[in-house]
């Protein structure tokens, strides 16, 4: 197992190098730059711009800049934001909590609700429930998240006044209930798509399993239906879900970005969007690397967990 993990880690590091090189190239080769914003708002002369460009080291050749950045990154120095001079790692960590809170809540809702819908749908295939769940899931997957978010705000915040229109907390309050109150709308909006996905995956996984020979074996030896479902089918059906969870991570992060935009949620997605807009290279690269690392860790964890749970896989 240890060797397997080491192997995967080596692969992951290779991927990170590719990811960072691609990201760096895209970012730096594109038109515009971090100074454009200052130029527009503050009254900077070309001389000022040239000077700041030099000060930021942006006048060096791209490979040099990349190697410099990469070398620093390996040593734990991810650079400083061009906007406020804060260290990138601390910028990320200060936004991470909000995103994780949102993602975790949405995931819990999605796994429980989606899983339940999926299992029930598979067992009562082609029933009214299954049809409704299928149609519902399809629509949920098709609604633009931001539009759904806007409509949610319109109905629940503007018209009904039940929920806050955004942000993570009422400043100065920040109690658990207050946090929860703010969390409801964005979490539900984010969970909508996730629930649909989990429902779909769970349904097909369950369908796959209940047609397996060993389920027939369990029936043939006279096991009661509930036992077949829980002991024999569900455990097998949940296995591929581990991989799904690992693969879902990037999707979830992307969904969070949109939800965070609509609900002005102070998370990573918002940060990314703003930093892209400002061409805040260190922060953008930091987030790209961070999310890539998260994705890789996610799939690594999923694989390890799979190996732990599935007796057939013994890596080493």
């Amino acid at each position: 197992m240890a060797r397997y993990v080491a192997n995967r880690l080596a692969q992951a590091i290779m991927l990170l190098v590719i990811v960072s090189a691609i990201g760096f190239a895209i970012l730096h080769l594109a038109p515009g730059g971090p100074l454009s914003q200052f130029a527009a708002s503050a009254q900077m002369t070309q001389e000022d711009l040239d000077r700041v460009t030099r000060q930021l080291g942006l006048d060096r050749s791209l490979p040099i800049q990349y190697l410099d950045w990469f070398g620093r990154m390996l040593r734990g120095d991810w650079g400083h934001s061009y906007r406020d001079g804060e260290a990138v790692l601390s910028v990320i960590s200060s936004h991470l909590g909000a995103t994780l809170e949102l993602m975790a809540t949405a995931t819990i809702i999605a796994v429980l609700l989606g899983g339940w819908i999926g299992v029930l749908g598979a067992l009562r295939r082609y029933s009214l429930f299954d049809s409704l769940a299928t149609v519902g899931a399809m629509i949920a997957l098709s609604i633009p998240t931001f539009w759904f978010g806007l409509v949610t705000i319109y109905i629940f915040s503007v018209k009904l006044g039940w929920l806050p229109a955004g942000n993570r907390e009422t400043v100065g309050d920040g109690s658990f209930l207050d946090l929860l109150h703010h969390l409801i709308a964005p979490a539900l909006v984010l969970a909508l798509v996730e629930t649909a996905m989990w429902g779909r995956f769970m349904r097909s996984s369950m369908l796959e399993v209940i047609n397996q020979d060993y389920i027939r074996t369990a029936r043939a030896k006279g096991m009661p239906e509930w036992r077949i479902l829980t002991v024999h089918a569900l455990r097998n059906a949940l296995l591929p879900m581990i991989t799904v969870a690992g693969l879902q991570f990037p999707t979830l992060l992307g969904g969070a970005l949109v939800a965070e935009t609509v609900f002005t949620w102070p998370g990573m997605g918002r940060l990314f969007l703003d930093s892209i807009g400002y061409r805040d290279y260190p922060v953008v690269m930091g987030i790209l690397m961070f999310s890539a690392i998260m994705v890789l860790i996610g799939s690594l964890l999923a694989d390890i967990l799979y190996a732990v749970v599935d007796p057939r896989i013994r890596v080493g």
Partner: protein, 291 residues
């Protein structure tokens, strides 16, 4: 039953699949809606008395069903229905073209990686993995923020974020198919690699490819709307469903129809493609064969 009967696909090209597909009512509905959307966006604008870009500033925000404007007018007094049709035309075009590009790249990369395996395959698939490390929207934004928005760039960008999944699907299919006896037989009678790849293997991966293609159109339409929502997309005065929605969001409280019409149109189009994809998956998947 002997093992031979279990061993493989008994796929009737077309026939059985079409029968199964026909049974899938939602998919059929999806196909019909797509047809209506395509025809509507292609010919609809010529049937309306309004030009989609004609501004009549005195008639802004006319609600639906008021006078000649069936769906009302927008913030510049343009006919919403005309814009909706033109917007659907642009959005569907982006969806289709992006899909075709993503498919072409994905199939090529997947086929080569899957067929040759080894170093070539590893390098290509690591590239795919690397691209997949970026959450789609992150990647899209990173790219979009950097390039001038427009039809071509938007389409290419969306394709650039979508081909990896196709490559993965095709790679997996080709990798397993090349071990199949018919592929080995082709090798044994002296077919060239390219011939085996594109004459023997890829046509057999057509089921997942077709499904991926449909779902890709759906995804591309959705992504276009996300791009527009986040401020990078089709340039005015051209309409796309996404930028109509983007323009409408500030009038959500005062002129909700401006947001509802394109929002519903996107949902409808995307749902239709998703249903179609779902139906095709069922129809083309031989495992769904009832004994």
């Amino acid at each position: 039953m002997t093992s031979a009967a279990l061993s493989t696909v008994q796929l009737a090209p077309g026939h059985a699949a079409w029968r199964r597909f026909r049974r899938h009512r939602l998919a059929l509905a999806g196909a019909v809606i797509i047809l209506v959307l395509v025809l509507g966006s292609a010919f609809g604008p010529y049937l309306l008395p309004f030009d989609d870009t004609y501004i009549d500033i005195m008639k802004r925000f006319a609600p639906p069903l008021s006078g000649a404007h069936i769906l009302g007018t927008d913030e510049l007094g343009r006919d919403v229905l005309a814009r909706l049709m033109m917007g659907a035309r642009v959005s569907l075009s982006i969806g289709f073209v992006a899909m075709v590009i993503a498919m072409a790249v994905g199939i090529a990369v997947g086929a080569f990686a899957g067929f040759f395996g080894g170093v070539v395959g590893a390098v290509l698939m690591r590239l795919v993995d690397a691209m997949l490390c970026f959450p789609t929207i992150f990647l899209l934004l990173a790219l979009a923020a950097l390039i001038e928005p427009g039809f071509v760039t938007t389409t290419v960008l969306i394709a650039a974020t979508a081909w990896m999944w196709v490559a993965r699907v095709v790679e997996a299919q080709v990798r397993s198919l090349r071990e199949r006896e018919f592929a080995v037989a082709a090798l044994a009678f002296g077919s060239s690699n390219l011939r085996i790849m594109f004459r023997e293997l890829v046509p057999n991966a057509v089921a997942p490819i077709v499904v991926a293609a449909t779902l890709n159109v759906a995804k591309a339409i959705l992504l276009e709307s996300y791009l527009s929502y986040l401020g990078y997309g089709i340039q005015p005065p051209a309409a796309s469903l996404g930028n109509m929605l983007n323009n409408a969001q500030i009038y959500l409280t005062s002129a909700p129809w401006l947001a509802i019409a394109p929002g519903l149109a996107i949902t409808l189009a995307v749902t239709s493609f998703n249903f179609l994809g779902d139906g095709l998956r069922d129809a083309l998947d031989p495992r769904m064969n009832i004994p």
